[in-house]
Each structure stands twice: as C-alpha cells, then as structure tokens.
C-alpha cells in the first residue's frame, strides 16, 4: 500500500498541473502582501473606523495574522478550484491516458488502487494548504511581523492577544485542510465516473458554486436547507476565531466534513470496484 501511495504521489508531483496550485498561491499571496504594504493602513482604518471615533489605539494591527486571516477568508472560494484541478484528474486522467490498463492489470486490488490515489490526493490537498499557511504566515512575518489580530465577526470587533492567535490559525488551517479534503473527495468521486479530467473539475466547481449561491440567498426556504449543504461547513474554520471557542460547534462541523469525506470516498470505492475499464 505504501508503495502504491508512493507511486501515486510520484505521479502527482511529476505532473505540471500539480504545481499550478502552488504557483498560484505562491504568486497571489505575496501580491496580497505587497498590496497590504500600501493599502494595509486603509484596510485597518476601514475595519476600525467606528471605533476610531471613540478610541485611540497603538500596536501593530497590520501584521501577518491579519493578512493571513484576510487571505484565508478570500481564498476559500478559489482554492477548491486548485484542489479539483488535481483531484479531478486522479482517476479520469488515467482513463484519458489509457493507463488504467497498465495499472489495473497488475496484482493490485482496485480498492488499494483507489485508496492509494485518494491518499495521494489528500496529501496534495494538505500540502497546498500548508503552502498557503506558510506563504501567508511566514512571508507576512518577514514583512509585517506579528501582533494582535483584529477581526470582525458578525457585529463584533475582536482583538486577539498576540500569543492567543497562532494556535487558532493552526486550528483554522487544519480545519481548512479538512474542508478542502471534502472538495477533493467530491472531485475524486466525479473523477471515477468519467473519462476526462475536465468533467470532474467543472462539475465539482459547479456544485460548490451552486451551493455557495444557495447559501448566500436570503430566502427562508433556501436558508432552511443551508445546514445540509457541505459548503456551509467548509468556511467554518472561522469558528476558531470565536472567543470563547465553541468547541461543540467545531466538533459538529468536523464531524459533518468527515462524514462527507467518508460518503464521497465510499461511493467512489463502490463505483470503481464495479467499473468496467473500457479506455
């Protein structure tokens, strides 16, 4: 099994498309950093304009934490695309290339094959988030340093002590990884159904976009189905920035995400086990 995972990882990381995600984040995040060098003060003024009327404050609010938070917020819509780019290709890519015939005529069970590929996909997903974390936090650290984190959650302005922030980010990135793994497993499921990689990428993104739109429309009927849409839980990494932490809510969200992963992957497993390889 380890050999198989190794092979799949090797294949993933020998493909050019795998690096699109890393390059995209490696370019985008520093751009945000640069923009914040010039515009960061305005952003803070915007966030605090009402408080500024009544308070004076000192401290480094424009720091790597704030930027990492902004990056995490604004990229939750775009990173799924980078994830599906690879996860949607995992099985469908082999179908397109005709290499199923090479792999599946070897003494390897289909279950192991599918699982190894999935693990490779999950590792890619987690590395991408790790890369995002590294780019956001580390690059930001060198440009802006650390400080207190100022965020607006709902109608609250929350400022976290400097030493109270890093673990929240670790939790948030961990949660985001899990959320993105749901995206990866959905793309993987679609990938097992078709013979070209475009299909899974487009359908996964379509599902996500439709779900996000449904979530965003403020109509009673649509709002009532919101808790059943998995996209609703992908951005729940923000729960780690509640004070106090709503552990129950976090565990519930994690449970729902894991349930989705198990569901999507289980379906893939069943479908793939019965699949006739015709390509």
């Amino acid at each position: 099994m380890l050999t198989l995972v190794g092979i799949e990882l090797f294949k993933v990381f020998r493909k050019w498309r795998t690096y699109i995600g890393f390059i995209a984040i490696g370019v985008l995040v520093p751009i945000i950093h640069i923009a914040m060098v010039y515009e960061g003060k305005n952003t803070i003024d915007f966030m605090t304009r009402n408080i500024q009327q009544s308070f004076v404050f000192v401290g480094n609010l424009l720091n790597t934490y704030l930027i990492s938070y902004i990056v995490l917020t604004s990229l939750t819509v775009h990173i799924p695309f980078l994830i599906t780019l690879v996860a949607g290709d995992l099985l469908a890519g082999e179908a397109t290339a005709g290499t199923y015939r090479l792999m599946l005529t070897r003494p390897v069970t289909r279950e192991k094959f599918v699982t190894a590929k999935f693990i490779a996909g999950v590792i890619y997903t987690n590395l991408l988030i790790l890369w995002l974390a590294l780019m956001s936090l580390a690059v930001g650290y060198f440009i802006f340093g650390v400080g207190e984190l100022l965020i607006i959650r709902g109608d609250m302005v929350i400022i976290f002590e400097q030493k109270d922030v890093l673990w929240r980010f670790l939790g948030a990135y961990g949660y985001a990884s899990l959320g993105m793994t749901v995206v990866a497993s959905l793309a993987y499921l679609f990938s097992s159904l078709v013979e070209n990689a475009i299909g899974p990428i487009v359908s996964t993104m379509a599902v996500i976009i439709v779900f996000v739109i449904i979530s965003a429309i403020n109509v009673e009927l649509l709002q009532s189905i919101r808790p059943y849409l998995f996209t609703n839980y992908i951005s729940s990494w923000q729960l780690f920035f509640d004070n106090p932490l709503d552990v129950e809510e976090i565990l519930k969200s994690i449970g729902i995400l894991i349930l989705h992963i198990v569901l999507f992957f289980g379906a893939t497993l069943i479908i793939f086990k019965r699949k006739d390889i015709l390509t």
Binding site: T3, L4, I7, F10, K11, R14, K15, W16, A97, G98, T99, Y100, R101, L102, M103, L104, T105, R106, P107, V108, T109, R274, D276, I277, L278
Partner: protein, 309 residues
C-alpha cells in the same frame, strides 16, 4: 503439436459480455494449454479486446467463467496477475515519465522484485535501451508498442497476453515481434495468447488458434490442421483454357477442378499436387501464367473481415 494432455493455462467457459443490448462476447469457450502460442483471431470489433479485458479483469463478464493456471480468475486475481504479462490495445504510458520510470513503477506493483538490471534487460530486448531516459510522450507509436512488450515481459510471467502487438509497426518491426514470440515460446517455454486481425501473422507463430466473429467462436483448432494442404485451393491462369480443359477431362485432375472463370481454373489441391499440375500443363503444351494459392480459411476470414468493415 498435440497439447491435449497438457496443463490448461486458460480455460474460458461460456463467457459472455453484454453492453446493454450489444452482445460483445457471446458464449465463448477457449482452451489454452501450457506452451501454446494461441492465436486469437478475428476482425476488428469481433470481441477480441473485450475478451482480453475480461482475461485481465478490466471488465467483469456478464456470464461464464475464466480460469487461469487452474484458478478462478476473479477469486484469485492477485496471484494470477502476478504471473501474467499483457498489452491491451494500443500501448499507453505515462507520457510525462521516462520509459525507464514507467517500467520502474510497473515493476514495483508487479508482485516481484524488479531490479534495475532487469528493466534495462527488457528495454534492450525491445531495442529501446538507448532511449530509456526519454519521456514516453516523445516516442513514436512503434516505440510505444515495443515498450508495451517490454512491460509485459518485465516480471518474467508465464502467460503473456498480447493484443495486436504488431499494430503500427513497420515490416521489420513486425518480423522482430514474431521472432520474439517464437523465442518466448520455444526457448523460454512461455504461453502466449496472441490476438490479431491478420491471419498471416497468427499462422506464422501460433500453434493453435480460434477465429471469433461478432462475439462467438467460428473456427477453432490446430493451426496446421486448419491450414492443412487439403484445405488449399489454387487458381491457375493458363494460356489456352479450352486445351487445358480437354486435357483435364481426360486425366484424373478433373476430380480436383472446382471451377473455371475466364482463363483461370480453380483446383482443390495441396502443395505437392500444385507442382505436379504445373508440370502436367507445361508438358502438354499449355502455358501457365500464374499459380495463386488461396485457402478456404483465408477466404472465409477475408469474407468475415469485409463484412465487419
């Protein structure tokens, strides 16, 4: 070669595969014995590839059973596939990896320890050792076909399943593959299951064969028997068909005459008789312009191939 008493390597019983309404393979029975080079012949679309995919567990049969090495294929899949090497249809590889890397990956999951030396050995065997570092996407179809054979042989399997291995090769390459198959069978005692849509190719290397069309078996048996001289027909083109006709009617050759069209006469005769007939005509003052042997099996095969087109 009589293989009736030998060990069955492939045993296909009542195998059927339906894709919705389409009966791709219908009630097929095949026996392949150890040491056979088994020709699996049929026109395009006859169900050859579907059968081979079922032999390699890529497709699940609708009905029937397959035993390989005496074990049920779908129950003992792993232990069987350990000992099977195959190419299925066109040779596809990971184009973004080198020939060597492709083989290395496949070696790792072959169920055997494959040394680097072994990889280079098979690449040498198929004449790709100088290109082992090149990415497969830079390979020509022929080179990929060779690499396909290399990966099939990589783990030194007992049973080698080759699906149209000479497609896309130049005549020289085709000859090399034929020689390789003969070498594998004769010198290494491998069992080869060779699918082809070219009778001539099968005839040159196989000892037993089956012809399938539209998913069902049409002709099956020993290649020598099937292509035996008794089944041969010869068309002789002569200078004077009237004179030739009267000569024939006066001799015993008349029994062998199948028909006359223009100045062509068709006989049901073997190789030796062909020479005698030629001598007979020439000695009696009839010029022979051409002698074209046509075999009934070939005719038959040609017909079903044309139907398929």
């Amino acid at each position: 070669m009589d293989s009736k008493n030998e060990e069955l390597v492939i045993e296909i019983r009542n195998l059927s595969k339906y894709f919705n309404e389409l009966k791709a393979v219908d009630n097929l029975n095949i026996n392949v014995f150890r040491g056979d080079v088994f020709g699996f012949l049929g026109p395009n679309g006859a169900g050859k590839s579907t059968t081979i995919r079922m032999l390699l567990t890529l497709i699940k049969p609708t009905k029937g059973s397959i035993k390989i090495f005496g074990k049920d294929l779908f129950r003992d899949r792993l232990s069987i596939l350990k000992n099977v090497g195959a190419i299925v249809e066109k040779p596809d590889f990971y184009g973004y990896l080198s020939a060597y890397k492709n083989l290395e990956i496949l070696g790792k999951i072959s169920g055997h320890e494959i040394s680097n030396k072994r990889i280079m050995e098979v690449l040498e065997l198929v004449g790709l050792s100088d290109r082992y570092k090149s990415k497969v996407k830079t390979f020509s179809h022929g080179m990929k076909q060779r690499l396909g054979i290399a990966q099939a042989l990589l783990h030194d399997p007992d049973l080698i399943i080759l699906d149209e291995p000479t497609t896309g090769l130049d005549p020289m390459g085709m000859k090399e593959i034929r020689e390789l198959i003969i070498h594998l069978s004769r010198d290494q005692k491998k069992t080869v299951f060779l699918s082809s849509h070219i009778l001539n190719e099968v005839e040159q290397v196989a000892n037993r064969m089956i012809i399938i069309n539209k998913g069902t078996a049409k002709v099956e048996g020993n290649v020598k028997d099937l292509l035996d001289a008794t089944n041969l027909s010869v068309t002789v083109e002569v200078s004077d068909v009237l004179k030739a006709g009267s000569l024939i009617s006066e001799s015993g050759w008349s029994e062998k005459l199948k028909g006359i069209s223009g100045n062509r006469m068709e006989f049901n005769i073997g190789n030796q008789e062909t020479a005698q007939l030629n001598k007979f005509f020439v000695e009696n003052g009839v010029d022979v312009y051409s002698i074209v042997p046509t075999r009934s099996l070939e005719e038959y095969f040609l017909r079903i191939t044309q139907e398929a087109i």
